[in-house]
Amino acid sequence: MAGSGPPGHEVPVMIDVARIDYWAASGTGPLHRASALSKVIFLLLVVTASVMTHNPYPLAAGYVVLLLQVASSRLPWLRVVALSLYSAVFALLYGLSLRGGSMAYALLILKAVTPALAMLTLIVSTPYPKIFGLLSTVLPELLSAGLFMTYRTLFILLDMMDNFAVSIRLRGGFSPGSIYQNGANISKGIAMLLVKAVERATRLYAVMAVRGYHGSMARTGTGGFRRDDWLPLGTGIIVLTLVLIWR
């Protein structure tokens, strides 16, 4: 399983879920000890701040506060920041359709990267069963089961993509300049991945069903608050307060 050990030099996938899964499961910092509920509330506070503000400065300050939180929690802050900046690329694409100067672009980018950093803080410090367990309390069973299966199948797919990329190169599947041939091979590869993913997912579901899985997570519920929740809750309140007082 891709998420069971430190990810090495696997196929670079932008969303980098294997790495995120490893950080979430292996960390021991104060954010890891905080409850999933407090971190979801923290995320909502940051998203609310981002929705409310029309000024890039408090959001920039908020981003720094989030960064300090990540760095002080023994999380790989440089990589987390790099992942949060990924959303800025798409924000800039949307920015093309807006008429505005540097302030508008700054606001747009900060509105993208600040909640993205908050989301990343949640997912790199919370093992996925806790997140899905929390979601199961508010989502219908089919949706939470679908989310869970998608997440697990994603790791299976990432493993298969590694093998696929190697085997297609070994067999001369990529030839520089031959767009048609490369496109046809990649399409067939995606199709093969899909068929194999369905087979593996079906097997995984059958194994889980044998072990008692019936569509809902074993650990559901909010889990309540803990002593370490002061950090995410405090950070979220600080970011929202910055936006409210700095108009």
């Binding site: 093309l96 509105k111 997912i123 089919l142 998608t150 199948t153 579901y205």
Partner: protein, 233 residues
């Protein structure tokens, strides 16, 4: 192109709230229609198709800033109701990874979900007039063209004044004022670059559906409104 990478707090509140409300409504209808579904068969399929969509969406075709969605493949393989749910799951996980805002999940699900529903419907309506590759490819182009127009419509009504964004004045939307050259530029860019993307997506979708029809045809034979559909030649 039919997936908005718009951050939180850019779109007017009424628009993203309407998106979330309509998404919840559509999801309720889908869940109701799937209440007697064979979960053992369909949930793994839902997970696999959604995961493949996620992976394909993370692979950017750099010169034209396009990523394939495989939403039509999802519609054809999963059917309209499960396809819409797959669109929701994909968008929620993407939003959790910072790929588009949380508040935009509703609108994005409606856009991507409409691709799965339209893709499935058109693929079914075309019967077996064309070989399966061409049927899937033509359906993909038609679907993406339609949903790209929807995307332009959403961006057009959401096109808030930059002054309003920066200073908080609710000046309304540009759609009510004079024609916005930025929207025309956006529409031209999206339609011109998008059309290249549609052709790439059509080729990939056609190849994927053809491969599935050859290797695992039972995946295309799900029940739709009580009748069995065959993949065709």
């Amino acid at each position: 192109m039919t997936h908005m990478h718009i951050p939180d707090g850019i779109l007017p509140v009424w628009l993203w709230l309407s998106g979330l409300f309509l998404m919840a409504l559509a999801l309720s209808v889908c869940l109701f229609s799937l209440r007697s579904m064979d979960a053992k068969k369909k949930i793994p399929l839902l997970g696999a198709v959604s995961a493949v969509m996620l992976v394909s969406m993370s692979l950017e075709i750099l010169p034209i800033a396009y990523h394939i969605n495989l939403s039509v493949v999802a519609g054809i393989l999963l059917g309209p109701a499960l396809g819409f749910i797959s669109a929701f799951i994909t968008n929620l996980i993407l939003a959790l990874m910072g790929h588009g805002g949380i508040t935009v999940v509703g609108l994005n699900t409606l856009l991507l979900g409409s691709e799965t529903v339209l893709g499935h419907t058109l693929f079914s309506l075309m019967g077996q007039r064309l070989p399966v590759f061409w049927r899937a490819a033509v359906v993909t182009v038609l679907t993406l063209f339609t949903t790209t127009l929807l995307l332009i419509g959403i961006v057009s009504v959401s096109h808030i004044d930059v002054d309003a964004v920066l200073h908080g004045h609710e000046k309304g939307v540009h759609a009510e004022a004079a024609p916005d050259p930025a929207i025309s530029t956006f529409a031209i860019v999206v339609l011109s670059l998008g059309s290249i993307g549609w052709l790439i997506e059509a080729a990939v979708t056609g190849a994927v559906v053809k491969f599935v029809a050859q290797v695992k045809p039972d995946l295309l034979k799900h029940r739709l409104h009580g009748r069995q559909r065959s993949p065709g030649p």
